[in-house]
């Protein structure tokens, strides 16, 4: 599945300062759909190059990191249970940087 | 270091100064390694081994004897300088099973035991010995505890209290749902339903705390106690400072963190306000004081988040809890944060004088606060909504609550309010009546239909 993953608000610093990543990700075996839960694991393993604790806390994003799926706050779509589809755009923005 | 020297309100500045004056050389060696170190106070015995210390407190600098007497001195200073216990009093110690209230119970017992010895030795026997009772509130209605587990807990507790004599102490075991009048049926079910209707996890916890307080009040007034001793320690107060701040209760916060809280019918006193949690658990460990472990209920409430935050801060800086309580201690307390003046000439002059002195600093605050009928926090006048537009009695009740209770305890949907009010213990309404800002007499009349008949014991 083709997805676009975007980092902002300073999170891009955790992945070699690259903001936009076009990725290709498989739906986990046995699962029908790819959920945000799966994407987070994938992002942490494949895109985050340093200080993962700035991005993840427990099994979800660190508080203070905003997540938008197709420009919609993931709090409206079920957070970790949000399912993803081909060509979706997922944006992670840190609110913790700068002022 | 438990406190930051001169700013601390407790008695520890005296020790602190003394220690600073004569222990520079000793404490530096003691800090470096445990071997060959001596207690900073008696300069004779070995300090308590540091391996036994979790974090903070004055534990590592004292030998066991000096540690014990230092802790007891903090307790006694709090008791005497705030006129918490007088010879004629009958005090009820609230025992939760934990370390802090176990130490409170032990210290109150030690004090009573000494008073009894003095009484027996004195010729005229003019000073009576204060009485002591113990209360345990069984909250198994609110938490999932199996009845066999509860039986074990109660058995342990009875044994422990019976060993704390002479003088003998009565143990009052009281399920929290007995806050409902004695006549009311199914009080356990009623309480369960009430708690089920509180959807916010923090609100549910806090409501139980308020009901526990109500239960203690009831035990005390039904059994002729005139003081309730609580074991809350500085660590507990520090967490309360932050959780009250987080809940928007900055105005009422100082009411809850003083040595005395007399807004209730029977005043609450906090003689362990200057002791750290780890000091208290260390004492239990050293002296083999038996505590009663209740199963811990995991919870994702604001309260538990605050507690783990405070624990983290305390780890980073062992005097953090003290600083937090000291900061909040500078907020202006309320008129009820002292033992009401006694003008009875039977009370020894010294007691009255001491009381005058401790009350002096509170004279600035004016009385007549109106309080939230659920948590009994004093209300900020600016916060009160107008009652004139309120139609039903339950609306009036809701509007009289503080904004924190409105948010986390009361139902959000006003159509559920009537039902909710009918599940509240009657005592809440009678208590609300004492708060004279609103006419709760008429409120009670209006909602009479929901209330079950008063018991005879209700004054």
């Amino acid at each position: 599945m083709q997805l676009t993953v975007e980092f902002g608000g300073g999170l891009e610093l955790l992945c070699n300062s690259v903001k936009i990543h076009n990725i290709n990700i498989e739906t986990p075996k046995g699962a029908q759909q790819l959920a945000m839960r799966d994407l987070l694991v994938w992002v942490q393993n494949n895109l985050i190059k340093e200080r993962p604790e700035m991005f993840i806390k427990g099994d979800t994003v660190r508080p203070g990191v905003l997540v938008l799926v197709n420009d919609c706050d993931w709090e409206l779509s079920g957070q970790l249970d949000t399912t993803l589809e081909e060509k979706d755009v997922v944006v992670f923005i840190s609110t913790l940087h700068g002022g | 270091m438990a406190c930051n020297g001169s700013n601390c309100q407790a008695n520890c500045h005296r020790d602190e100064d003394e220690r600073a004056a004569r222990s520079d050389d000793v404490s530096s060696t003691a800090a470096v390694d445990g071997s060959g170190a001596v207690c900073v106070k008696c300069k004779a015995n070995e300090p308590i081994p540091t391996a036994a210390i979790s974090r903070g407190g004055e534990v590592g600098r004292f030998c066991a004897d000096c540690f014990r007497s230092n802790l007891f001195a903090k307790f006694r200073h709090a008791v005497t300088s705030n006129a918490m216990i007088s010879p004629a009093d009958n005090v009820l110690v609230a025992f939760s099973g934990g370390h802090a209230s176990r130490v409170a119970l032990q210290f109150v017992h030690d004090m009573q035991y000494k008073a009894q010895k003095n009484f027996d030795a004195s010729r005229d026997r003019s000073l009576p010995v204060f009485g002591v009772g113990v209360a345990f509130i069984d909250e198994s209605t609110g938490y999932p505890i199996t009845s066999s587990e509860m039986d074990r807990v109660l058995g342990d507790m009875k044994l422990m209290v019976s060993q704390l004599s002479p003088p003998t102490k009565e143990l009052h075991i009281f399920p929290v749902h007995s806050v409902y009048s004695e006549g009311s049926r199914d009080s356990r079910e009623r309480l369960k339903e009430l708690l089920d209707r509180v959807s916010d996890a923090t609100g549910k916890e806090d409501l139980l705390v308020h009901l526990r307080m109500l239960s203690l009040q009831k035990i005390a007034s039904d059994n002729g106690y005139n003081r309730i001793v609580l074991g809350s320690c500085i660590s507990r107060f520090a967490s309360h400072v932050l959780s009250a701040t987080v809940k928007g209760q900055g105005y009422s916060l100082p009411a809850d963190i003083q040595y005395v809280d007399a807004r209730w019918g029977v005043p609450l006193v906090f003689p362990l306000r200057d002791c750290l949690a780890q000091e208290l658990s260390m004492l239990c460990h050293l002296d083999g004081l038996k505590t009663v472990e209740l199963p811990n209920v995991p919870c994702s409430s604001i309260n538990s988040l605050v507690s783990s935050f405070v624990a983290l801060l305390q780890e980073e800086n062992p005097s953090r809890e003290c600083t937090i309580v000291r900061t909040a201690g500078k907020l202006t307390p309320f008129h009820f944060n002292r033992i009401p003046e006694i003008n009875d000439c039977n009370v020894p002059l010294a007691t009255r004088r001491r009381q005058k002195r401790s009350n002096l600093k509170l004279n600035g605050s004016i009385s007549s606060e109106s309080c939230c009928p659920i948590c009994f926090s004093p209300l900020n006048k600016a916060d009160l909504g107008s009652l004139e537009t309120r139609q039903s009695a339950s609306d009036v009740f809701g509007a009289a609550c503080c904004s924190s209770c409105q948010f986390q305890i009361l139902p959000q949907d006003s159509s559920d309010m009537e039902q909710f009010c009918s599940l509240l213990p009657e005592a809440l309404f009678s208590r609300a009546k004492q708060s004279n800002y609103y006419d709760f007499g008429s409120l009670r009349e209006q909602i009479q239909d929901y209330l079950l008949p008063d018991s005879e014991t209700d004054p």
């Binding site: 709090e75 779509s77 949000t82 944006v91 | 701040t245 105005y251 604001i302 988040l305 937090i324 000291r326």
Partner: protein, 357 residues
Amino acid sequence: MAESHAKVQKVGGGRLCCICNERRAALKRPKTLEQICRECFFAVFEEEIHQVIVENQLFNPGERIAIGASGGKDSTVLAYVLSELNRRHDYRLDLFLLSVDEGITGYRDDSLETVKRNEIQYGLPLKIVSYKDLYGWTMDEIVKIIGLKNNCTFCGVFRRQALDRGASLLKVDKLVTGHNADDIAETVLLNILRGDIARLSRCTAITTGEDGPIPRCKPFKYTYEKEIVMYAYFKRLDYFSTECIYSPNAYRGFAREFIKDLERIRPRAILDIIKSGENFRIATSTKMPEQGTCERCGYISSQKWCKACVLLEGLNRGLPKLGIGRTRVLDKDQKKDLKQSIGTKSIASKQCGSLDF
């Protein structure tokens, strides 16, 4: 409560905005938990700030106002929204951007580029005051001398004064800063944790320094950081979000983390903390020391010399430790302040000073 909407929702299907009932909701407001669309969000976000400005009488017609602009999210959104509201509601304000160039290569020079673009995008005149011009030292030079230990103390003291000096050069009546609700809630907690009752009593005031040369105010006092970032994102505002190279982990503070954890289980906690801060019963006798002026530079100071001059003297005499830690030059209060700013690194999110003014 967070679990309640754990039901899987098809993205794109979406629910409708609870204000207009027409468009797809794009975010959940932390303040009200309403689900609203982008357009309605812009409208309520701007309107609420307008209400804050009106209710608190932050500005008078004809005033000259400097916006403290760092190039970061808060000040960028503030500059954008203020110029918008000024036009829409005819505040008749003369707005200026005021930036401080600390002289940090690879950080401030980049963020100043952002501010310079903002100058053009929003049509607001920009004034940059630099540490080099004001004090003769850049932060790069200072760090070369003193290392990375107390650099944030220098920077914080210098920045505060630099903003005031820039404001007086611009002859403005007020200085507005982008401090948001999360910042203020954090400051309330930090002042409790540090035992600073004097600051605790002032830190929730929306306008401060009315007795000083230039009052400062915070129009975002009640605005959630989440909404500011969402607004900047949806409006595609141009802001800079790299961390300061001399304090790279500054934003890892315990207190900030705690606030974000709280927000997750109870978003209104942030406003409740501010409310607590406003309602604390603090006796009026707990006041700050009398303000005089610095004998050397004329800046407000409670001591003979202001803090910046003490620090500068140390730098210029080759004694950079002067004014840091235990020196006789300092009186007790200053010592305490410094001890606090150094000793509490791990609890605050930004030592680099802009928080407590």
